[in-house]
Amino acid sequence: MSTTTPTRAVWSFEAIGTVWSIETDAPLGPGIRRDVETAVAAFDRDWSRFRDDSVVARLAGGGGSAPVPPDAAAMLDVYVELDAATRGAVNPLVGDSLARLGYDARYSLVAQGDPIAAPERWRDIVRWDAGTLAVTAPATIDVGALGKGRLVDLVTGVVSRGIDGGFVVDGGGDLAVRGTPQRIGLEHPYDPRRVIGVVTVADAALCASAVTRRAWGEGLHHVLDARTGVPVRAYAATWAIAPDAMHADALATALFFDGGPELAASWGAHWVRMRTDGRVEWSPGSEAELFT
């Protein structure tokens, strides 16, 4: 991959199941790095489905409540919009559906049986207010539709408070750009050597999702239709640009379903998505340069 600004400093680390990098003009000092690590660790401790001691893991055990994590309302409020826009395809209680197909805390990656739908009336089960997050029936919260975007925003906040210049926070497919605009290639989901187009991102976030890499068997990958618990088949990859990464990430998920484009329009966001047959769709007025 060619780099237009080869002199910048890059700090890479692994967190929440993917590879992160933060690119800055000058190397980040130890204080900022520590603050980033603290923010990532706190988010993981609240929301990771892949550890026993997280808030969502403890709530899944049989219901119960916990002090509300700081990002709960911000994320769950967007889930309400996602749910409405996709008519139930996106649902924060999809955790058990994912685990059923093998995407569980132990990474067993073997389906345990037929797909199971997520509880349709999740808002009766998940309750949140200023003090408490409650799950009133056995069910597992999975904020995968937008959680990584939220964490990109949190890390972006830490970095922007710590340095003056521009930077890029790349959470492995979900990224935020501050300062110098970045030309970003849209990776071909079936051939990582290729890009299907280029977008320029300036002081905004670009989030991508694809069914091809986080996949572990015939038709088994991490983007499920919550209404059935079955992995999606119509779209292979999505990209969305929004002012913040949480909304871009949410759209990158919603765009696997009908209703995603309408939600993007209501948020004033742009997007590109590739169908599994290789055809590409884009938002009205999209400024992406596509190699069609």
Binding site: A208, P284, T292
Partner: protein, 165 residues
């Protein structure tokens, strides 16, 4: 596939190109030739009468011996009807050895054309996209599916080796 260079709406422009293809009468040629995937963008069009590109088009079957068309850049203006309006666009084609090496469409067949697609919320739909090699494109980074962590990769490797045993 013909790479259009009309940015930012290359594919919508591509659809428009099809609309006027008959008028510049290159349909037989364009349908049976494969332009170089990495064709350079067209230089500003040197306008030539579109009629000069239309000779013999009716008999062209694609198995061309010798050159049916004179190399060069051709420009034509065309219009086509949509439910709401008549759109006018200008199409420039570069021909080399009967191969269309570049197509440029100017003009913006805006909202009326997009109505033909599924909904007002989708700007357009392309044919299958092959893409370009990352190394051939100037980008600072690439966004796609997120890289998976060591834990996921290790588990996947275990599954694969068990499946192979």
């Amino acid at each position: 596939m013909i790479r259009t260079t009309a940015v930012p709406r290359p594919v919508r422009a591509g659809a428009a190109f099809v609309g006027v293809l008959g008028m510049v009468a290159l349909a037989g040629c364009a349908g049976t030739t494969t332009p170089a995937a990495d064709a350079e963008e067209t230089t500003p069009a040197t306008t030539a009468p579109s009629s000069s590109a239309t000779t013999d088009s009716g008999t062209d079957t694609g198995s061309v011996v010798g050159s049916a068309y004179t190399d060069g850049t051709y420009t034509a203006e065309g219009s086509y009807s949509t439910p709401e309006s008549v759109e006018t666009i200008e199409v420039t084609i570069t021909l080399e050895s009967d191969v269309v090496t570049a197509v440029e469409v100017t003009g913006d067949p805006q909202a009326a054309e997009s109505q033909r697609y599924q909904s007002q919320f989708i700007g357009g739909i392309s044919d299958e996209v092959v893409g370009q090699l990352v190394d051939d494109v100037s980008v600072s980074r690439v966004a796609g599916s997120s890289l998976t962590s060591g834990g996921f990769n290790k588990a996947l490797q275990t599954i694969k080796s068990e499946a192979a045993a």
